[in-house]
Symmetry: C2
Subunit: 115 residues, 2 copies
Amino acid sequence: MPDTLRQFKANIFQALAHPTRIAIVEVLRDGELPAGTIIERLGLEQANASQHFSILRAKQIVSSRKEGNQVFYSVRDPLLIEVLDIMRRYFQAHVEEAMSVLQQIDLLDKDGAAK
Amino acid sequence: MPDTLRQFKANIFQALAHPTRIAIVEVLRDGELPAGTIIERLGLEQANASQHFSILRAKQIVSSRKEGNQVFYSVRDPLLIEVLDIMRRYFQAHVEEAMSVLQQIDLLDKDGAAK
DNA sequence: TTAGTATATTAGATATTGCGAATATACTAA
DNA sequence: TTAGTATATTCGCAATATCTAATATACTAA
């Protein structure tokens, strides 16, 4: 109820409000990985990935550990994985709607680009 | 794993990535309410609230029902409430960190404003 | 030292978001 | 019809977010 709590939640949600960052968290589901491996598995641009890492670090979603030349990332709290799992259930329960939502967004994108 | 799913999750998170929208979802926890009541309880600007409603509708977070003069909103799926509850647990498990994160953001804001 | 590898940061262009003020729409009551 | 109430939409602007390209930093190996 206090506004601080909502601010906090909003912050976490914002940190997760990007497909790439969700992908990063998901790929870390089974334990830590070096940045390079994450980048490779997800097929990301190095600089772009690093920016997303930075956001996830700032919002305390992941922690990082330096070992020699590389940086290992891991998810700080498995509760977040739980959240993502609930979202999957949510998705399964609303597939058709979900599709139409994404499609509409896609159409809007194309309209926007076409103008 | 498919990118569509991540897009979908990111969309939901984005919809919730604002304290006001979280507040709206929370105030609807026990059932539907007319827009006016939500606005009153949360002390929102009418236009601003309506914009947030619009976003929550577009992302299928809430559904709306018109009755006479007013519009009743409700949360579409209680799973989302569950997500918010998990976030509360997450918050409790990380209070000090959370505080420092919010504080840092606050400081940045002030620095930004001061320049 | 120098070269190479892994990662982070900065800069700048573009897109998106959030807000308040004003206006529009839909309904109700007289 | 007119006036009033409830809600939604539009506009303009400031703030944020995202991306790519370029550069910087930290470490390792020779």
